[in-house]
């Protein structure tokens, strides 16, 4: 009974930070979420008002670009691992994608810096590339897992009808696993949407609204970082509101994704 009590206490300790963080952000940030928050850019330091339109748009644009890379390479990687298990390169790809999943995001930022920023300067492209690198291994893993759940008999039925393997894969196996793959992509998006570290010296941030991906671009996590470390109350308030928005979006995405995958 004593151990049971201790275990309950430990569980409360584990869950408490989540509740405390959410409550704090609602208390401090909710007041700043209004129309201006979504339509204006941050006011110059020391002045009041403004919003995070630049960051919201930048985040959406970079995540969209990152998804192209993350989904294309990630789903292909998952197909490769699941449908070509006897291919001589398969163990290498599997091991590297596992290891890549654990590389710190900031290191991926350094890599994207070397690949893009050194030649072309800070840009939304560089930020999206870093985020795409981070998405790839997550999508590979989940795609492989759900493809393996598709019964072998389904593939055999397709092949028995005389369909070539590529058609079986694209028209029968992938659609059967589509729900799970979408879930995986959503979880990957939720994961990288909150990353600020790899954007520090790739997308760099931009205090104006910028939709041109070849120029420096802002993102929600970047503005949260800048605001939280700023000395001005107004910037801190915007950062808290931004954190509330980000965390709400991420929670909703993960909950929706998990619910969808659980129903299967």
């Amino acid at each position: 009974m004593l151990m049971g009590g201790l275990i309950l206490l430990a569980t409360l300790l584990v869950v408490a930070p989540l509740i405390l963080i959410f409550a704090y952000l609602i208390r401090e940030g909710l007041g700043a979420v209004n129309l201006d928050f979504f339509t204006k850019v941050p006011a110059p330091e020391g002045e009041t008002g403004g919003g995070l339109a630049n960051a919201i748009l930048g985040s959406v644009e970079m995540l969209a670009m990152a998804s192209v890379l993350g989904v294309l390479v990630g789903v292909s990687g998952g197909i490769f691992l699941s449908e070509y298990p006897r291919h001589p390169l398969m163990p290498t790809v599997r091991m590297i994608s596992d290891v890549l999943a654990g590389i710190p995001a900031i290191v991926m930022g350094l890599v994207a810096y070397g690949l893009i920023v050194l030649q072309f300067g800070f840009s939304g492209f560089a930020g999206a590339l870093a985020l795409g690198f981070l998405m790839m291994p997550i999508v590979v893993r989940t795609t492989e897992e759900v493809l393996k759940l598709v019964p072998q008999t389904v593939r055999e039925a397709g092949l028995a009808l005389g369909l070539p393997k590529w058609l079986v894969t694209l028209r029968i196996v992938l659609p059967a696993a589509a729900g799970g793959i979408v879930t995986g992509v959503m979880l990957a998006l939720a994961r990288v949407a909150g990353e600020a570290a790899p954007l520090l010296f790739t997308a760099f941030g931009n205090s104006a609204i910028n939709l041109d991906p070849s120029k420096p671009m802002s993102a929600l996590p970047l503005e949260i970082y800048r605001g939280a470390t700023s000395a001005y109350d107004e910037n801190q308030r915007l950062a808290k509101a931004g954190a509330l928005l980000l965390i709400t979006l991420i929670f909703l995405t993960s909950l929706l994704a998990r619910r969808a995958s659980r129903r299967k």
Binding site: M3, G4, I7, L8, T11, L13, V14, V15, L18, L20, I21, Y24, L25, V73, I79, F80, L81, Y84, H87, L89, T92, V93, M95, I96, S97, D98, V99, L100, G102, I103, P104, A105, I106, V107, L110, V111, G114, F133, M136, V140, E145, L159, P164, K165, T169, A193, G194, E195, A196, A197, L200, F201, P221, A228, K240, A243, L246, I247, I250, L255
Partner: protein, 338 residues
Amino acid sequence: MSEPTQSRPNRLPAPASLSSRSDRLFEILILTLASVIVLVFALSIYQLGTESWPALKRFGLDFFTQRTWNPVQGSYGAVAMITGTLVTSLVALAISVPLAIASALFVAEYAPRWLANPVGYLIELLAAVPSVVYGLWALFVIAPVLSRWEQGFFQAPEKIALYTACKNLWDSGSTTLQCFFVPSSFDGRGLALAIIILTVMILPYTASVARDVIRLVPQDQREAMYALGATKWEVISRAILPYARAGIMGGVILALGRALGETLAVAMVIGDSQDALKSLFGGASTMASVIANQFGDAQEALHRSSVVTLGLTLFFLSVIVNYVARLIIGRLTPKGIQ
């Protein structure tokens, strides 16, 4: 693409030769896209390697054994960041592992179903909170509490004398065990805050792996113990935990990998001091925090290169740690737990 089915009624078609060309093309396409992963890995090593080269050529192995990190003098030694990274990660791990295992036991063994699922959900959400949000919360909520304690420490005159003695020691580059617990900064930022926030951040990784392996422990194992008259805790400590031990170990190493590379939350609260660790309640730095705090401002080539060398070190460290974790988890659980 053309419809590749071709009927050859008189001979039994060998399935492999059916439409083999389009299959071959598809395989090449998939393989090409999949190898982007390998390419990114190789490019990362190349990129980090070439950019680290100037610093590595200049300092050699001294880079990892020298204590001074001083952009003004142009001397770069990473001892402070390496110890900072190891100390924050290992201490955070030591605090979080028992808590994580306890919460996993709660979800898998103690809680009724209606409670287990929501609590499991909450723990997974904890892993979804972005690093920068943890940093913001630590900075605005926990730092002031620590700061009050640090300032209160010096209410008594003998504590001020102690601080003065320690300050002299720190300035001369040495310290004592006692001085390690004397505050050296008073804004709440420092090693202790970094450890606290890291502990919270890595909890869910160990907790969810532990929960999954505990659920994999065969039911017979439990029933046999209960049949012998064992109490719940005896079943857990003698039948469940030993059985799940290796899997939990994999989860712990995975969490270690996270802790080593955790960047912004740590960078925001650790106080960014490159003096080798002197006080638990004072500034320090980790490899990741130095990259975040200094790479953007590093003008001088050698400074840049030294920061990238930290990135390269972190890269290899996480490759090794994650490889070991996957090895352990992969070997233990045939059904593949992430």
